[in-house]
């Protein structure tokens, strides 16, 4: 036992590099099978864009689970709600997205994203107060209550917007694609990648450079200790829950535009993907879910090109392989 050295710096937490490299590894392995370089570039770009959208939806879920052990099955409802709220902006302002002006195009996209985020954030607050709060700390009832909440939310969405698909279109400036050599990269995918990166950078900055972020990280590691130090972790948690819901809404809006249509089934579909992503990434780890999102999307894209039938179960296979290698995910959070 060495004597306690007060002056010494705290031991730095060493980040493992190998898990972060798995998407690169997958890309390198897949490249020879894909064959043509242009196809490979297109597939990879599409995969990264898809991964960014999934990450936008999933990052809130992983933090919410990490902090309060809340596994929110209602998360999918926020994804769907975000998509529908975006149509409230996109459809009335259709003339803005039809014009050639890139500024108006950007404005309508920003408005749609902000509206989706705001509404979902507010609904997240309501959901947390009404559905999640009464059953803190009881896993079984929590899962049941959030499922009940998602049933209600989905039915309300149907009641308000009707059961039919709503078509939406990407603003004129972001339609079409850049052609690099023979590879075509859609403009909207680049935009989605950019938004995803901004979300990731923002989350990393808040988590690592602010006091709130410090408290959130501490809460993920050890909730009781943070409470014992006198912080109201439940208030912090509400904020995280709202932010996570808002991001889910933003992701849902982006995905709806990408698909060109809105339907409530988008919620259940991406909830499954979000779960796979946060399991692979390590429950509670934002960085892990970032890597996992790209990994899952890349694998799905390569598999879809090389063996379409396999693509349907590629996510599950990826999860099984990762968990066999690291049972608690790529970046396990200590203490769980």
């Amino acid at each position: 036992m060495s004597v306690l050295d007060v002056g010494a710096a705290l031991p730095r937490h060493r980040m493992e590099i190998l898990p972060a490299l798995t998407p690169v590894l997958v890309a390198v392995v897949a490249a020879p099978f894909v064959g043509s370089a242009s196809t490979f570039l297109t597939l990879t770009a599409a995969g990264i864009a898809m991964g960014m959208m999934i990450f936008t939806m999933a990052s809130g879920l992983t933090l919410v689970f990490g902090m309060m052990d809340v596994l929110n099955f209602g998360h999918g409802a926020f994804i769907a709600l975000g998509a529908y709220v975006a149509t409230l902006v996109l459809l009335p302002l259709a003339s803005w997205s039809a014009t050639d002006s890139i500024l108006l195009n950007l404005a309508v996209l920003t408005l749609a994203g902000v509206a989706a985020g705001l509404v979902c954030g507010l609904m997240g607050w309501l959901f947390e107060r009404l559905i999640v709060k009464p059953v803190y700390g009881q896993h079984l009832r929590q899962i049941l209550a959030t499922i009940g909440g998602s049933i209600i939310a989905e039915q309300l969405i149907y009641a308000v917007w009707g059961p039919d698909q709503i078509p939406v279109s990407i603003p004129a400036a972001f339609q079409g694609s850049f052609v690099i050599g023979e590879a075509a990269v859609e403009k909207y995918r680049l935009l989605a990648t950019l938004v995803g990166l901004v979300v990731f950078a923002g989350e990393m900055l808040v988590l690592n450079r602010t006091k709130i972020g410090l408290l959130i990280r501490a809460g993920v590691e050890n909730r009781e200790m943070v409470e014992a130090l006198g912080y109201r972790i439940d208030r912090l948690f509400v904020a995280v829950f709202m932010a996570g819901s808002a991001l889910a809404g933003l992701g849902g809006a982006m995905m709806a535009l990408y698909r060109g249509q809105v339907h409530a089934t988008i919620g259940a579909e991406f909830l499954v993907l979000c779960f796979i992503v946060i399991i692979i990434g390590g429950l509670g780890s934002v960085g892990g879910s970032f890597v996992a999102s790209i990994l899952v999307a890349l694998i799905a894209n390569y598999a879809g090109f090389l063996a379409p039938k396999l693509a349907l179960v590629s996510n599950i296979l990826a999860m099984v392989v990762v968990l066999l290698w690291r049972p608690r995910g790529l970046y396990p959070v200590s203490g769980r």
Binding site: G148, I152, Y158, V160, V272, L312, N315, L323
Partner: protein
Amino acid sequence: MTLLSGDPSRGRALQILVTLVVIALVFAPFLFPGAKAMNTAAKTCVMILLVASYDVLLGYAGIVSFAHVMFFGVGAYGVGLALYGLGAGWGALFAGLGLAILLSLALALAIGLFSLRVQSIFFAMVTLAVAYAFNVLASQLSAFTGGEDGRSFKVPAVLQPGFRWLDHPLFGVQANGKLLSYYLVVFVVAAAFLVLLRIVNSPFGRVLQAIRENPFRAEALGYRIVFHRTIATCVSALGATLAGGLSALWLRYVGPDTALSFSIQVDVLVMVVVGGMGSLWGAVLGAALFVVAESYLQDGMGALAGLAANAGLPLLPALFDPHRWLLWLGLAFVLAVYFAPLGIVGALTPPEGKGRR
């Protein structure tokens, strides 16, 4: 008493309700003539088995699974595809059911061993993902499964509606194959239900409950948690497979909407929670209530929606639209989770006296 494994429903009101449901189901063809009533009764029977087997997992073992309908689908597709591919014979029926049971067991073992080891909360997420993939797979492999359209097939001759086993009607009901299939469903469901009741009241069932209440203590007493939970998963999967086979046999059709859709999984959850977790009698009540509500609540809601629309109220017509009946059941579900965690059974069972567990 031995038939019920010493676990009869307790409380006068509860006993009356259960007896009523059982009588209604056993004599359904004679009490409620007509095709719709008979379909409702058969669906209730199948759901009772499906929900009871789910309750073994959710109520007794305290594990949330989203793959229960996947096993239901395995059973339905096993029976359906075998009868479709091999012709309408009993051999094909049993071969299909046998294969389905083997596949279900293998899947349940794999999922259980893989995800119950890590964290029980993993199980919920992993089963959701696996069930989703299975659903997509079934609708994509259309050459084999019939895709979104599913498969219609013939059942063995004795069970076909055209088959007459008596020349004259029996108490005013045609003595045809449909009646025979109905009683086949009732008989198999009753037998399987009694077996499940036996299992949850065996020492094994007690250990499951102990693990649910306190995993650490159960493990400290020397019970292997993963082993017991995995066996529970397999038992419940078997029940669901059997229910799926019966459902396919009754409908003479198998497709993603009737056998695999995620909405069935949600329905099953609602039935277990509203009926009462941790008591198989809750499955009987929950399934009966749900199927009746599904078939008849919508009419009432349609009337309410009409009233609200006539009064010129905003949004209310949309909320009372007959297609939104799940909204109200969802509300009941959440309220049940908060205020009546043991559902109808919990509300009707009197407090236990001294000397009882």
